[in-house]
């Protein structure tokens, strides 16, 4: 318990706001003790009413009562504002530092993690920890103080009555402690069953065509009916637990009051107690019912905060990718020579070699084309060049220097990549194109867009380069997306360019225009083009055909056609296809 209080970011934030938090702590103290004055003055006032005492005396008590109520309210205000407000600031810090940490983690780790899980780490878990150190600690302290104070006051007034009246309330506290976690579990179960139901509906409506094609409506409805039944049953179970909670609170609270009525009444009859004290007891008990619920509630908050804290800690303990290393001097223009020797690679958890003894030399300023079936190892090769996965030392050299010993920064500065799935952010076109550089002037962005064949598209967009794309903006076609990704890579002007099937969705005519426009660009750098579509690579200086991680054919376009192997077959098939499309 209370492991979450050791959250490093929260501690740092607490130190930073130390004096403010101290004032909050004083407010908690006030919020805890000041409300106790209310019942006390109420009791006194009632006694005056009973005795038909002077107006003056009554006014004094009522005045004090109001004064304390105002002080209480002020403390409550300050306590909430300072402590809960601060908890949001600390939460900001935790989330930022976690996200910063996440961004530096190695890619193989991301391959094993699910985005949904990471999202819930950064959302629900960060929030659960905040609930612990913010509202959790605050309410526990304030209500704890009230409870202690009320118990002391009641005992000092009448120990016997206090003991008897508090008994049901302590029972209430313990049953809350047991009941609240199970209510929490049940409501999680309700939410889970609802999201299963929602996913089912989502899938069925998206697949309406298939469902109809196979006349699967009744089958589908029956499956949904069962899920719906499950949701209903879980809801009922939850409601039952809540009903128990409800009755316990009202019933045990009522029992306390009943004890006061009987025992207090007897005491009044024996003249060992005044009606004022009797009323004050009622008021104290009313004040205590909420703390009993709140204390039970905060205990369940702490449990959740601890569990979430452990998950966050596990995340913090994942070691970031190794970024250090040296930065060898490199020629300033004309691209960089790459030499790959006996490169073998296997993904963790995969029985199969993704690349096996691959060797190829890519001279400065030349173009290498790579062809092969799905999963032949083409993308893997590019990932290793970028060290998104680590190649074995000595297998990849740039300008004669082993990249395994380079600093990641230095290596990746030399390389621009256009990945297979062109990734766009929900932002303006200009921001997307300039994503890879720190600063870019408008003219450079426009030039890059032109080189990627985006000129006409931009003219048709409402705000040109400032048009927002993605979820909150216009939807781009696959080809347009790829060209944006291309422009992004071109703007980086790095000596090595990697294209991972980067033109697959661009139509053939546009592809031709882009490639022609590039010819002189390409000479200034070393380029590796992976492509399913052979028209992109017919002019490459060198083409390799990969199959199961091995090079099975290599040479120029004409050589490969003459060999009549896989390359030649693929080439004829694609020509066929294109003719039909152009009909």
């Amino acid at each position: 318990m209370f492991r979450f209080l050791k959250d490093p970011d929260v501690l740092a934030s607490a130190r930073e706001h130390r004096s403010l938090l101290w004032s909050g702590a004083w407010a908690v103290l006030g919020r805890g003790f000041l409300p106790l004055a209310g019942p006390w003055f109420l009791g006194r006032s009632i006694d005056i009413v009973v005795a038909a005492g002077s107006n003056h005396a009554l006014w004094r008590y009522v005045g004090w009562m109001m004064a304390f109520a105002v002080f209480t309210a002020a403390c409550q205000f300050w306590m909430r504002w300072v402590i809960i407000g601060w908890s949001r600031v600390a939460e900001l810090r935790t989330r930022n530092s976690l996200f910063g940490h996440l961004l530096g983690l190695p890619i193989p780790w991301f391959d094993r993690s699910r985005t949904g899980d990471l999202l819930s780490r950064l959302n629900s878990d960060v929030e659960a920890v905040r609930m612990g150190y913010g509202p959790g600690v605050m309410h526990a302290m304030a209500t704890g103080l009230t409870t202690i104070g009320a118990v002391i006051l009641m005992v000092s007034k009448n120990p016997l009555l206090a003991g008897l009246a508090l008994l049901p309330l302590f029972f209430l506290f313990f049953s809350m402690k047991r009941l609240l976690p199970s209510i929490h579990d049940l409501s999680t179960a309700v939410q889970e069953s609802q999201s299963t139901l929602s996913a089912r509906a989502q899938e069925a409506f998206s697949g309406a065509r298939v469902i109809k094609a196979f006349s699967r409506e009744d089958h589908e409805n029956e499956a949904f009916r069962q899920l719906s039944q499950g949701v209903a049953e879980r809801n009922v179970a939850l409601a039952k637990k809540r009903a128990v909670l409800n009755c316990l609170v009202e019933g045990l609270g009522g029992l306390s009051l009943l004890v006061v009525t009987i025992v207090g009444g007897l005491m009044i009859l024996r003249e060992s107690m005044t009606i004022g004290t009797f009323t004050a007891f009622f008021a104290y008990l009313n004040q205590l019912i909420w703390p009993m619920i709140a204390l039970g509630w905060t205990l369940s908050l702490y449990q959740r905060a601890d569990a979430s804290f452990d998950r966050l800690n596990a995340l913090r303990q994942v070691a970031p990718a190794q970024t250090g290393g040296h930065a060898p001097g490199l020629p300033s223009d004309g691209g960089l020579g790459i030499r790959i020797r006996n490169l073998t690679f296997r993904y963790p958890d995969s029985p199969r070699l993704a690349l096996s003894e691959l060797s190829v030399e890519i001279p400065r300023g030349s173009v290498l084309g790579i062809v092969g079936r799905t999963a032949a190892g083409k993308s893997t090769l590019l990932k290793l060049l970028l060290r998104l996965h680590e190649p074995a030392p000595g297998t990849i050299e740039i300008e004669g220097s082993d990249i395994a010993s380079w600093s990641l920064d230095h290596l990746r500065q030399q390389i621009s990549v256009v990945p297979q799935e062109s990734f766009l952010f929900s932002d303006s076109m200009a921001a997307n194109i300039a994503f890879g550089v720190d600063h870019a002037d408008r003219a450079a962005i426009e030039a890059a867009a032109r080189a990627a064949g985006l000129e006409d598209d931009l003219r048709s967009f409402p705000d040109g380069l400032d048009t927002v794309v993605g979820e909150r903006g216009i939807t781009l076609s696959g080809g347009q997306r790829q060209r944006v990704a291309l422009a992004r890579a071109l703007l980086r002007r790095s000596p090595i360019l990697l294209l991972d099937d980067a033109l697959s969705s661009v139509d053939v005519a546009t592809e031709r225009v882009i490639l022609d426009g590039w010819r002189e660009h390409l000479r200034a750098r070393t380029t590796i083009i992976v492509s399913h579509r052979l028209s992109s690579i017919v002019e490459a200086d060198q083409i390799i055909v990969l199959e199961s991680g091995r090079i099975i054919e290599r040479g120029h376009h004409q050589d490969l056609l003459a060999q009549g192997g896989l390359y030649a077959r693929l080439f004829r098939l694609q020509q066929d296809e294109r003719e039909l499309e152009s009909l």
Binding site: V62, F99, L103, G104, N123, N235, K240, E250, T261, F435
Partner: protein
């Protein structure tokens, strides 16, 4: 559904709509009435407590304390005390017993109503024709069966009768207060408008602020999702610092939105506690002078104080329930709009059940337009004898996919007739008809579940052996093995499978269902040419012995067709075998020549 879902009538108490909602509760009216009766009893008993206490204090305790009188009245007083306590105990036990039973009953019944409504809605949606799905985005429909239904849930479970309960309690308390002493009642109730106003102002602001928070959370999640999915790119381009700075900015505006709600509630809660204290103070002052004048007794003052405390809870609830009601009416309106949508294919009342058909297909002067707009097909006619292989060729948008959709009767032609074995499609029983027509589309849809479920798709009479035999015929066995056999799990939309693999599974599925007519839309995009070779040989097996209509993307597959239909702008421009079309010297011939030059 031409209307925007947001564009609702806006009236909170649309009586017709409420009545229609309540109609779903009609089958359970006995349960609802029982629960309401229980609630009335509970309210009555809850009201009695402070009254009994007052009588006890006034009748016995205060006199006793005042006079300090003799023992004679002592036994009487003790008797009265024990009697009142006994009554309170019995009332308490009854109240909580009843309350527990009532909550359970209402929830059970409410959940049943909601379950009925939800399954009915779902059933209605799945039975609409494809036109309905074209017109309604999936997200919207999902919202109808999930969050809208949840809102109605609140209405049925915690809405109607709890609202009644609270109203009865409020009215009861007000009545008692006025009967006992109208002046004191006015004093007690004087803080109520203040509390209501305070709650109203801050809760309205809270709702607005929560909307802002939800918006910010959504924005943060969207960008977080983006950054995490794009982490490879971010790292490749070394953009970690820039991304972190952007994320911090989003995070900060979320924090600011949260802090605004903290500020709101920091004011709200202290005020909510201060106002009743003010009420208590006024009660004491006025009560005191009234007692001195001899109009009241101390027990009355204590009673008023007790009722003031009892008043606050239902007051807060009623304000809350008004929102629930408003939400329910809006949700109900949206749900009913779907339930009232009757977009469906007209079904012939005397539809003939379908036995095995031979598979002769004819299109006779078929016209079609989506939504009465531009015609997509203009007078298409052709005849396919059973077992014939036809190919459809034409540029994007020429109407190829529409012909396929019409053949599976996803839509009815706006003019003209399509027949299967010489009989109009519209006269067949729909489910049976579709069982005779197998469709494999470019974009293969897989459901989350086992491989087995995705292959039999509800036709559980297909044995594992039959499924595996079908899979092996189309060379899909390696894919199934990779997934862990028939019991292997397929992710949502088959996200872990390549396009080619999904295609093979779809072939296996169709092979197993063994339709007489096969409709094929060959995959072109996003599939590598080598896998394509595998797919081609699977298609060859699949089409054996079936009437086949294929949208073709490869000249090589077309050449063996019995007939090639060249479609252009919704019209059939050329038809015939490969050789015939070459002789005709039209579009197709030109294309073929182009190819031979290459």
């Amino acid at each position: 559904m031409a209307h925007d879902p947001e564009e609702l009538s806006g009236r909170a108490f649309d009586r017709k709509l409420l009545r229609r909602l309540l109609r779903f509760a009609l089958p359970y009216r006995r349960e609802f009435m029982t629960s309401t009766g229980m609630l009335l009893c509970i309210s009555a008993m809850a009201l009695a407590g402070p009254l009994l206490l007052r009588d006890l204090i006034n009748g016995v305790l205060s006199h006793h304390a005042e006079a300090g009188s003799g023992a004679g009245s002592g036994d009487e007083a003790l008797g009265a005390l024990l009697f009142t306590s006994g009554v309170l105990l019995v009332l308490g036990i009854l109240t909580f017993g009843l309350r527990f039973l009532q909550i359970r009953l209402t929830n059970r019944t409410g959940q049943r109503v909601i379950h009925d409504l939800r399954t009915r809605l779902y059933d209605h949606i799945t039975k609409r024709s494809l036109k309905f799905f074209d017109q309604n985005p999936v997200g919207k429909l999902v919202t109808r069966v999930t969050s809208d239904i949840e809102t109605l849930n609140e209405f049925f479970v915690a809405g109607i009768d709890v609202l009644l309960y609270d109203l009865v309690r409020i009215i009861g308390i007000v009545a008692i207060l006025f009967i006992v002493d109208w002046q004191m009642a006015l004093v007690t109730l004087s803080v109520v408008p203040l509390i209501l106003a305070w709650s109203f102002v801050f809760q309205r602001r809270a709702r607005r602020l929560f909307r802002v928070v939800r918006g910010e959370v959504g924005k943060l999640n969207a960008s977080l999702n983006e950054y995490l999915s794009g982490v490879r790119l971010i790292q490749s381009l070394r953009r970690e610092k820039a991304v972190l700075a952007k994320f911090s900015a989003d995070n900060r505006s979320l924090k600011n939105a949260h802090v605004a709600t903290v500020w709101n509630f920091a004011w709200f809660f202290p005020g909510l506690e201060l106002l009743p204290a003010l009420g208590t103070a006024m009660l004491l002052v006025v009560g005191h002078s009234r007692v001195r004048e001899g109009d009241l007794q101390v027990g009355d003052v204590i009673m008023f104080w007790t009722y003031l405390g009892h008043f606050l809870e239902p007051l807060r609830q009623v304000a809350d329930k008004y929102n629930v009601l408003q939400g329910a009416v809006a949700a109900g309106e949206r749900v009913f709009r779907v339930l009232d949508d009757e977009t469906a294919l007209p079904l012939a009342p005397d539809a003939s059940p379908v036995a095995r058909v031979r598979g002769a297909v004819s299109f006779r002067d078929v016209h079609f337009a989506y939504d009465d707009r531009k015609p997509v097909l203009k007078g298409i006619s052709f005849d396919m004898s059973a077992g014939a292989k036809f190919a459809l060729v034409g540029p994007t948008g020429s109407g190829k996919s529409t012909i396929i959709s019409l053949l599976s009767r996803f839509y009815d032609p706006t003019q003209g007739v399509i027949t299967l074995d010489g009989q109009d499609l519209r006269t067949y029983e729909l489910a049976g008809l579709r069982r005779q027509i197998g469709v494999v589309l470019q974009d293969v849809f897989l459901f989350e579940g086992t491989v087995r479920e995705n292959l039999h798709l509800g036709r559980t009479e297909l044995t594992d052996e039959a499924l595996l035999a079908a899979a092996s015929a189309v060379q899909a066995l390696p894919v199934i093995e990779r997934l862990g056999g028939l019991s292997g799990h397929i992710q949502e939309r088959g996200s872990t499978l390549s396009v080619g693999e999904k295609q093979l599974l779809a072939f296996a599925r169709t092979m197993a269902h063994d339709p007489a007519v096969l409709v094929l839309d060959e995959a072109t995009a996003h599939i590598d040419t080598a896998t394509e070779l595998l797919v081609q040989s699977a298609i060859a097996r699949l089409t054996q012995g079936r009437t086949t209509l294929a949208i073709a993307h490869r000249l090589s597959t077309i050449q063996s067709s019995d007939c090639i239909l060249v479609l252009h702008h919704g019209e059939l421009r050329e038809r015939g075998t490969h050789e015939q079309l070459l002789r005709e010297n039209g579009i197709y011939a030109r294309l073929s020549r182009l190819q031979s030059l290459a």
